[in-house]
């Protein structure tokens, strides 16, 4: 029984078809990579799943229940969380306060700010940001903001993470570090993840399965190894036979 599934999802923005009949399933504790050129509909797909955009047609189900007609905040409470491509921290709050809000509102039946702050501290040290917990989100570096975004998604208690380019814009050293951290978190939390990414090295080393979008359509699905050897993918997206950048 797949945990998250989408069937024939289409999304139109006026005359532009951003998604055409996209289907996917994300079984429990799996990592599915989502790649494709700019404007291929990756972020739109995440937005539709998270309820930020409503699909024009198609169905999204979480644990067998339809969620495509629900508001984002309800979907978040069912155990799904999404990071934003450009980090959207609550900039005048400290790192721990950012997570505390997520603990309070993302999980059910938690109303104690004190407990939320304790949870926030625990998760911050999990993502190795324990020393920055009292820093204002605004004062964090790009890498730290991305990590805070990830931590906040975890703080909502999600079992499914939709990650929109959390590895983009990092130096090679930071990237290696972040990939390691993500692997560790994935093991500890047993969560599943849908990872949208431009950085091929990250996608290929994290995902069990990779899906390729082009102009809103799925053009290939397979293991990372199959994907890098798929003729259509090479033509449409990679442009060369050596994708490992």
């Amino acid at each position: 029984m797949p945990f998250l599934e989408a069937h024939n999802v289409s999304k139109n923005f006026g005359g532009v078809q951003a998604l055409k009949d996209v289907s996917l399933d994300l079984p429990e504790s799996a990592v599915l990579g989502l790649i494709g050129p700019n404007g291929s509909g990756k972020s739109t797909l995440l937005n539709v799943i998270a309820g930020v955009e409503k699909p024009t047609s198609g169905i999204v189900k979480l644990d067998g229940k339809r969620i495509d007609n629900l508001r984002t905040n309800r979907i978040i409470r069912y155990g799904l969380a999404k990071t934003h491509q450009i980090p959207k921290p609550f900039s005048n709050m400290t790192a721990r306060e950012n997570l505390a809000v997520a603990v309070l509102y993302g999980r059910r039946n938690i109303h104690s700010p004190r407990f939320a702050l304790e949870e926030a501290d625990r998760i911050l040290s999990m993502v190795r940001m324990g020393s920055r917990k009292d820093a204002l989100a605004d004062s964090l570096t790009v890498q730290e903001k991305k990590r805070l975004e990830l931590a906040r998604a975890i703080a909502t208690g999600a079992s499914i993470l939709l990650l929109d380019e959390v590895f983009a814009g990092l130096s090679p050293e930071e990237l290696k570090d972040s990939i390691q951290l993500f692997k560790k978190l994935h093991e500890e939390l047993h969560c599943s993840a849908l990872v949208v990414e431009h950085v091929m090295r990250a996608v290929l080393s994290l995902s069990q399965k990779v899906m390729v979008l082009e102009e809103g359509r799925v053009i290939a699905t397979g293991s990372p190894d199959e994907i890098v050897h798929d003729e259509k993918v090479i033509q449409a997206y990679l442009g060369s036979k050596n994708p490992a950048t």
Binding site: T72, F90, Y105
Partner: protein, 294 residues
């Protein structure tokens, strides 16, 4: 020596007046800071709060201090109604308020302002009324302080402190602060934006109407349907001085304005004092556009 006494007395009165100004502006500050809507009809709800104090005094014998919580409760309901009537349609499903929505809410609340003040003229007539509340005076050295003004000042500071504690220390408060900073992210952590925004608006109205009740202590014969025309601009100045969305900003702006007005009033006329008070806005906007508070 006489001049020194005069200055100290006026300083004390200025500070007390500043406290009540702060709370009168505080509701505008909350709505502006959180929901990002400037309520042009703000002054009219101060006026309604003041009439609340007048009628509750007339029919139930309540003092302005006792009226404040009643006004606040009414304000909560009015605020919810206001949110769903005027703001919800413009704000829902938007990451930030658009220029068009800003214009729509400005025009709509301007219309509401005209409607409410004219309705008040029909209902209450144009004759000014007042509440008689005089619990005595207190002697501090050579300064005689009316207890009514002192109580009101204390209650005003408590109200501002209360809203600050509510936002900083509570479950719901954390969502309101989050909403003020990023609507999308608020939704992404599981909070319902419309619920948060409507609550913040309702709280703003509760504080505004309670502020109107407290203000009556300072205007013994000044409650009238058009009083909003003075207290709305005062509130705008205070919010800009302190910085929209900063809870203590209301107090900083209010005290500044109160002291300036009272000191100038002692040496010039009331008209010049109020005019000068509005002039403070210019250097503040030039040198510290984010408000006096960091």
């Amino acid at each position: 020596m006489v001049a020194a006494e005069l200055i100290v007395t006026d300083l004390a009165f200025g500070l007390m007046l500043g406290c009540v100004f702060s709370v009168v502006a505080h509701g505008l500050n909350m709505i502006w800071g959180v929901v990002k809507v400037v309520n042009i009809a703000h002054g009219e709800f101060i006026m309604l709060g003041a009439y609340g104090a007048y009628f509750l005094n007339l029919f139930a014998g309540l003092t302005p201090l006792e009226t404040a919580p009643v006004d606040a409760a009414i304000g909560l309901l009015v605020g919810y109604a206001f949110y769903y009537a005027f703001l919800h349609r413009e704000l829902r499903n938007k990451e930030t308020i658009t220029l068009q929505s800003e214009m729509v809410t400005l025009a709509a609340t301007f219309g509401l302002s005209l409607f409410v003040s004219n309705l008040a003229i029909i209902l209450f007539t144009g004759n000014p009324v007042g509440v008689n509340y005089n619990p005595g005076t207190l002697q501090f050295g050579y300064v005689r302080v009316p207890l009514a003004a002192l109580y009101v000042a204390i209650l005003s500071v408590l109200i501002i402190m209360g809203t600050w504690l509510f936002l900083e220390r509570t479950f719901i408060g954390s969502a309101i602060r989050a909403y003020a900073q990023d609507v999308t992210a608020t939704e992404l952590v599981g909070a319902n934006p419309a619920k948060v925004a409507s609550l913040a608006t309702a709280l703003g109205f509760a504080v505004t109407m309670a502020g109107g009740a407290l203000l009556t202590v300072w205007i013994p014969v000044g409650i009238n349907p058009l009083m909003g025309a003075l207290y709305a601009p005062i509130s705008f100045v205070i919010v800009v001085l302190g910085g929209p969305g900063k809870m203590w900003g209301s107090l900083v702006g209010g005290l500044t304005l109160g002291v300036v007005i009272d000191l100038l009033q002692a040496f010039t006329t009331a008209q010049i004092a109020y005019a000068a008070a509005f002039l403070i806005l210019i250097p503040v906007l030039v040198f510290r556009p984010e408000g006096l508070l960091k």
